[in-house]
Structures are given as structure tokens and as C-alpha cells.
Symmetry: C2
Subunit: 464 residues, 2 copies
């Protein structure tokens, strides 16, 4: 007999069927034993009656998370026993035969309640992914990527594969991880930026979903050493605002797709998605600083970037004033952005660049790029690099590059902000940071004799 | 005026429109100057008539790959001038205004003919992606991944993100790249295997698209240091053949999706896709060796794996005998497979594992995995590793893992084989190997003083 999913039992009343799954829990009521069987589709209640002695005896032995296969007949539950909390709440399975597929050892903690600290949760990640709230997080994460793809494919973007290993002459700036690459040096990519610009020559509108890496020398609730970047780049823009429009469309669709396609996951998590108005509000960074100063008397008006507390404050302002939990902040200072960022012709000290903040945290960075070959070369020099190190990349511009721009979205940050997680590690199934790769590194291996981490801190720190 | 794509001009006869793109080529016929303008949608012929002096003069200056924006009126071509080779072949654009968006330097070679060696092609990758055959390759590559996703999503699989950075106690075996990870050692992942098994506890059926890495100490036409792996894993299998059925469905759909959705790219490349019969033929590895021996008198019957020449020969056999250019080879020897491979209960020296070969090359590897916690521990020991190094991973089995299996497909190998590329580097936009990361490493940087490449060659080499 072919196994069916628990949810499919709803339409099988009176039929003999086979299901399989994990023991979610087990209750004894006199001469009847109940188990909740969990599979990918949900839960079904299975009834073992003493009268049917063989399966009843077998079921006595069952413990949480044992894996079983059960044959039986689907029947309507008695009226008083209907459980409206689950989809199969009007039926139950009368067990006739049970087969144990795998046993489980004693659980270290209650994985349904999951009242553990974050480090413990991460130590036990392979176990805690069984929890329905954890599952909901990663289902929503999948939907966000799917939504990103759907939106951009509809806009005739093509997806390409960007590399992880990059040469020594990478974009430079932020802290990078060093790789022993055969007899040479190589690095983990910080961003697919240069590659997506190159691929404009192929497809004109491109996007790419990639792991990117930052050797952040600190532990915060919003940084990961390895994260997923959702990147797009488009040529033949009329203005940098074209890229903002696409970014806004992408994010709106993400929120509506999560709302429509993950309603059950949102319910499981008890989450309300961020509010949006007809149009995302837009503020220049300097305007934002002015507003923050007026509201808080905190004077960061000369700072070249928004501080974390500023990002929170300006989001509060946007919610109060515009009823929007997302906001565009634009025109970041030229010296704080990478060499390829397009300066505002009307104000060259500031750039045609933007961030999107959501509930107090930057989730997207983008803008127009310099597409002129000679300007790019002079900017590379100005930023303290050698154009010869960029010869490969510069080919993309040497042979005719249209006006272009794009953006990058941090997947885990989006998940964290829209479902209100406290720590970005909760939004990554296998988070890597200074202290952890799966297990805590201090438990796993001795420190290296020679600490060789490449955390080059240049004066021109690149914000991406 | 808003720019439209070249292909959209077909329905704009008599209308004034704006297009933009690259100069594909330029021809002078007496007092008329023609250019073929290329954008992402294709080519349109633009006519500059001497009578319209300003745009005509501007067009004199145009060279290959310059980027321009042109306003003009779409008209029907004279009957004798229709070009059935292109989609816009019945119309042309009478130029009224032209704006140069970017210039190109002199091209180093003809990028439309592209008669260059592979190393030159890769040196100039940012330029040669403009070539329509190159574009076709990467469009097909995108379709293969999309098809993989669609098939598995339809079968209720969920996608998750597997990590690139893995701890020192990784799967072991094949050559791995070492990372300086803060004060610790880490490695680039060889496969998401352990993580997809873990995620079965979350979703029961999972897939993942990831970059994986092999520090292959050799240069061949079928290996890359970094490639894209299409991975799936499913729980509650009745038999290992469930995984073969899904693999066959995935590949059939890939071929039909490429056929249906990339017909133009196939035409551009002049490619015939591999033949398939109703069902992929299946041979045990030992049977295949016997057949190869009979056909060639080459006696590899005691070898623990198929040699590259064997893979080619058995594919010839499958094509002759079964009219199929793909074939399953099953039951590889236990000692040649990783510790988690399920031994055949009827013949424990061989495993419930399979490869799919396509036109002489392995493109997929899969099979059933050991889901029993204690068996897994004893196998880890047997394979010479310490179960304590796998404690994190082993949690997935300690707390109840159903019978399960899965497979991995090499994206670039699929592309290479189905469109008949000579070298796998052609199927990767930015191939990395011993000698190259974008540019040739020998040109880019000096050798490291201390060669520290980790190419641990253990006796139990893992084949994945």
C-alpha cells in the first residue's frame, strides 16, 4: 500500500490507508491510546484500541520522535472530539497495523515548547528543525527567494551563477576570508557586484542568489559571516530611480507573497507583517539626520552614515508620519560608498544610491553605477587601488556599457525584520560567525598557532 | 519617451518609438547607412538616410559595441529586403534621432565569429558574453535550474540554503580548500549532503542549489574547482528506487523544458538534445563492466569504479541497444562510496547507489542512505573517522530518521553533455581551476612562499 500524507486523510473517511511520520506526542485515556503523528503536511490523531491488541501493545512502546508507519481506517471523530486547531481535526485514524521505522533517544529538552537559549538552539539545530515554528521560519525564507525570482523573471531578468572564490584583487575594503587556493591566494566573495555588472553584457537584466561572506570581527544580532544575498542589476536605466522602483516592487511582492502563500506559517509564528503605504517614503540621508536631530537632540548630522540607533529612529518616524514600516534613505556620501557608485551630478559629494530600511534595519542597498570606462579608472585610483588589478572587470566597461544600476538584499535580514526575530542567526539554518560553524569552535578545535585572519581595515570601508 | 525592446517594434509599424542597444554591425550602401542594433530581445535594422542629415552624420562615427539610444519610425521593409533569420526581419527603424550612451574601444577580435582558443575566451569573458552562442549557453543553464526547481516543487519538496563554510570535521576524503576562519580552520564545502539530511527533519523532502568545491589537483575537461550542485533528499522512501524515479523525472523534465523553452537557443547553438527512451536503462556496475569487456576486450571487471573510457563505452552500448543516451549504473562497491551509503542487504559489498551517465559522462550520483543511528556510527568508525567529529550531524539520526535517500546533479556537467560542449569551462561563466580565477593566476600573483594546499589523499576517496 502506498503511503499518503496526513492531510490527504480528510477525504478518505471509511477507507483503509497508510500514513507515516514522527510521534509528536502520545496520550493514554483508559483503554485507548492516542498518538499525534506528524509528517510534512501536518498532524493526524491515531487511535489504538485495546481491543485490537497487537498494534495496541506495539504502541505502548512508542516515544516522542520515533518514526512509524501505520495502516488503519480513517473515521470521523465523535462530535465533541473535533479539533479545529489542525486541518485533520474532524477525522482520526483507527490503527490496525504499525511498523517502527526508526527509534529516537530521549530528547534533551521539549522540542515543541523549545524554551532554550539561542546558543543551545543552535547547538541542537539538527534536532530543533523539527519544531513547527522553526519550520515556519525557513518556509517563509524559501517563499521570499521564490518571490524575488518570480518578480524579476516577470520583468524579463535572467538568473546567473556568480562565483564564491574570488581573486586577490577583489573589490577590497571590508573584511574578507582568505583561502589557500592551490599555490595561490584567493578569497571568499563579499558580493557578486562585479560579476553581475559583467553579465549585463550578456542579458541586460540579471539577478543572482548567492552566498556572500564577511569576516566581521564582531558578534552582533544583525551580522553573519556567511549569508545569502539577493542581487539584481539592470542596464539601460533612464535614471537611478528605475532601480528603486524595481526594489520597491520586489519587496511589495515579497510581503504579499508571504502573506498569501505562508498564511499558516504566519499564524504558527503569530506574526504581523510590516505595514506599507501606497509608496515607500523617500528621504535623503542628510534630511533623515536632520529629522533625527530634531526628534532626539542626538546630533549625528556630520556623520557619513546612519548609526544603528539612527536607522531605528528614522523608521519610527516613517511609521508615525507615513504609516510605513519601510523607508528609502538616499544620497549617501560618496566617500562612504564603493568606487563604482554614481555621484549625484548636482551634488558630487553625495551619490545616487539608496538603502531600504525595514523596522529599524537596512535590508537593501543599491543605486546607479558608473558605466563610463575612464571615470571608473579614475575612481579606482582615487579609492587607492590599482586599475591593473581590475583589468578583467574593466573589460565590461571598455567595450560599451549602458547606464546601469542595481541592488542587493540580505535574505536573512529580510526574514529577521519581517517576522520580528531577535537575532539574525534564527533566520539562517546553519549560521556561521566568529564563534560557531555548526558547533561552537572553541569546543571543536584548538586555536590555530598563527592567527592569520585577514581583516584588512582600510580607510575606505565599503558599505554594501 | 519610454524605450521599448527591439522585438516589440514588430507591432509598431508607422509609430514613432525609442530603442536602445549595442551596435552589432554597420553597413554603408551608397547614401544609406544601416546598423544592426542589438538588445536583450534581439536585433533590429536601423536605417540612416543622408536626407536626414543630423542622425546620418552622427551614425558615421558609430563603431561595433557602442551603446546608443535611437528615436525613429518603424516601417515595413521593402519586399526584397525581408530577413527571415531575425524576428524583426519584416520591419526596420528609420532613424530620426540618435544619442550615444557609451563608446567602445577597438575589439581585440571578432566577438560574433568568436574564433578564439578557450583560454583566450576565458581571458576575455566579460567581453565574449556578448556573443549570442555564449548567451544561449547560460540561458539554457538558467532553464535547467528552473526546471529542477519546478519539478521538485511540484513533488512538494522545499528548498533550503546550505552553507559554503564547513568545519574541520567535514565529510572528509576528497581534496578540500582550506579557509583561514578567524582564529580557526575551516573548509569550503564539498557537498551539502550532511545538511540536506539534517533538513529532512524539517521538511521531509528538500532540495538545494549550491556552489560546491573540489581542490582537484589536476586539470581535466570535466572538473571545476567550484561548481553548482543540484541536490535533493527525500525521507519515507519505500525503496532506493524512489530516488531513481525522482532523478529520472527531473532529468526528463529538464530536457523537455530546454526543448520547449529554449528552442531559439538550441537553434543558435545548432544542438540536438540527447535521445531518451520510455525508461532509462539500468545496469549494475558489474554488469556494465562485463558488457564493456565483451565489447572491447578491455578487462576492468575487477575495478571498483568505471573509468572515463568505460563510461563512454557503456553509453555507446545504451544508445545502440536501448536508443537512450542516458543510463543508470547501479550498485557501486561499498568501499568506493561514502560512509553513509546504504549497503545492498542481498550483497553488502555493493550499495543501493546509482550514477546517471549522459553521453559518456556521469552527471548524477545518488542512492539510499543509512538512516539507523548505530549503523551510521559503526560505519563512520569503519571508514576511519571519529564519530565524535560528527556529533552535530548525528543528532539528525539520534532522534528518529526515516528511511531516506537522494541525489546530486552537477549543473555544468549537465549543460556540457546535453549541448555537446567540449570543455566544462564553457558551461561556467566564471570557471575556477588550478590555473585560473577570472585571469590566469600565474599572470595575476606570485606563487605563495609556502604551498599549503590541503589535498589530503585518503585511502577512502569519496565519490560524489
Amino acid at each position: 500500500m502506498k503511503r499518503i500524507f496526513n492531510q490527504e486523510t480528510i477525504n478518505k473517511i471509511g477507507e483503509k490507508i497508510k500514513v507515516a511520520g514522527w510521534i509528536n506526542n502520545r496520550r493514554v485515556h483508559g483503554k485507548i491510546l492516542f498518538i499525534d503523528l506528524r509528517d510534512m503536511s501536518g498532524i493526524i490523531q491515531v487511535v489504538f484500541n485495546e481491543k485490537n491488541q497487537e498494534p495496541y501493545n506495539a504502541a505502548q512502546e512508542l516515544k516522542s520522535e520515533w518514526v512509524v508507519e501505520i495502516i488503519g481506517t480513517i473515521q470521523k471523530r465523535p462530535t465533541g472530539m473535533i479539533n479545529s486547531e489542525i486541518k485533520t481535526g474532524e477525522v482520526e485514524l483507527q490503527a490496525e497495523d504499525i511498523k517502527i521505522l526508526a527509534k529516537s533517544e530521549q530528547l534533551p529538552f521539549d522540542i515543541q515548547e523549545l524554551k532554550v537559549s539561542l546558543p543551545t538552539l543552535l547547538d541542537y539545530r539538527p534536532l530543533v528543525v523539527k519544531n513547527q515554528k522553526i519550520k515556519a521560519i525557513f518556509k517563509i525564507e524559501e517563499e521570499i527567494i521564490n518571490s524575488f525570482r518570480r518578480t524579476l523573471q516577470k520583468l524579463q531578468f535572467t538568473e546567473f551563477q556568480a562565483p564564491v572564490i574570488v581573486p586577490a584583487n577583489a573589490e577590497g575594503g571590508a573584511a574578507v576570508f582568505h583561502i589557500d587556493y592551490y599555490d595561490y591566494d584567493a578569497y571568499l566573495t563579499q558580493s557578486p557586484q562585479l560579476y553581475k555588472q559583467i553579465m549585463l553584457n550578456c542579458f541586460e537584466r540579471v539577478f543572482t542568489v548567492n552566498k556572500v561572506f564577511r569576516a566581521e570581527p564582531s558578534v552582533t544580532t544583525r551580522h553573519l559571516a556567511e549569508y545569502t544575498s539577493l542581487d539584481m542589476e539592470m542596464a539601460f536605466i533612464d535614471s537611478w530611480e528605475d532601480t528603486m522602483e524595481v526594489a520597491e516592487t520586489v519587496i511589495r511582492n515579497m510581503l504579499s507573497d508571504v502573506k498569501n502563500n505562508c498564511s499558516e506559517e504566519l499564524k504558527t509564528l503569530g506574526v504581523v507583517l510590516p505595514q506599507l503605504n501606497d509608496k515607500l517614503p523617500r528621504l535623503k540621508m542628510r534630511e533623515a539626520q536632520e529629522i533625527i536631530f530634531k526628534r532626539t537632540k542626538r546630533d549625528n548630522r556630520k556623520e557619513p552614515d546612519l548609526e544603528p540607533e539612527d536607522e531605528k529612529e528614522i523608521c519610527l518616524f516613517a511609521k508615525e508620519k507615513y504609516n510605513s514600516e519601510l523607508i528609502f534613505i538616499t544620497h549617501y556620501p560618496t566617500k562612504k560608498r564603493p568606487f563604482y557608485t554614481y555621484p549625484d551630478p548636482k551634488d558630487p559629494e553625495h551619490t545616487l544610491s539608496f538603502d531600504i530600511l525595514c523596522r529599524g534595519l537596512e535590508i537593501t542597498t543599491g543605486g546607479q553605477r558608473i558605466n563610463d570606462y575612464t571615470k571608473l579608472i579614475s575612481n579606482i585610483k582615487k579609492w587607492g587601488s590599482d586599475p591593473r588589478d581590475f583589468e578583467y572587470y574593466l573589460q565590461a566597461f571598455k567595450y560599451g556599457m549602458p547606464p546601469e544600476g542595481g541592488f542587493a538584499m540580505g535574505l536573512e535580514r529580510i526574514v529577521k525584520q519581517i517576522i520580528g526575530l531577535e537575532n539574525i542567526r534564527e533566520a539562517n539554518a546553519f549560521p556561521r560567525d566568529m564563534e560557531r560553524i555548526d558547533e561552537r569552535l572553541s569546543l571543536l578545535q584548538p586555536k590555530k598557532k598563527t592567527a592569520k585572519t585577514k581583516t584588512k581595515k582600510k580607510t575606505k570601508k565599503i558599505k554594501k
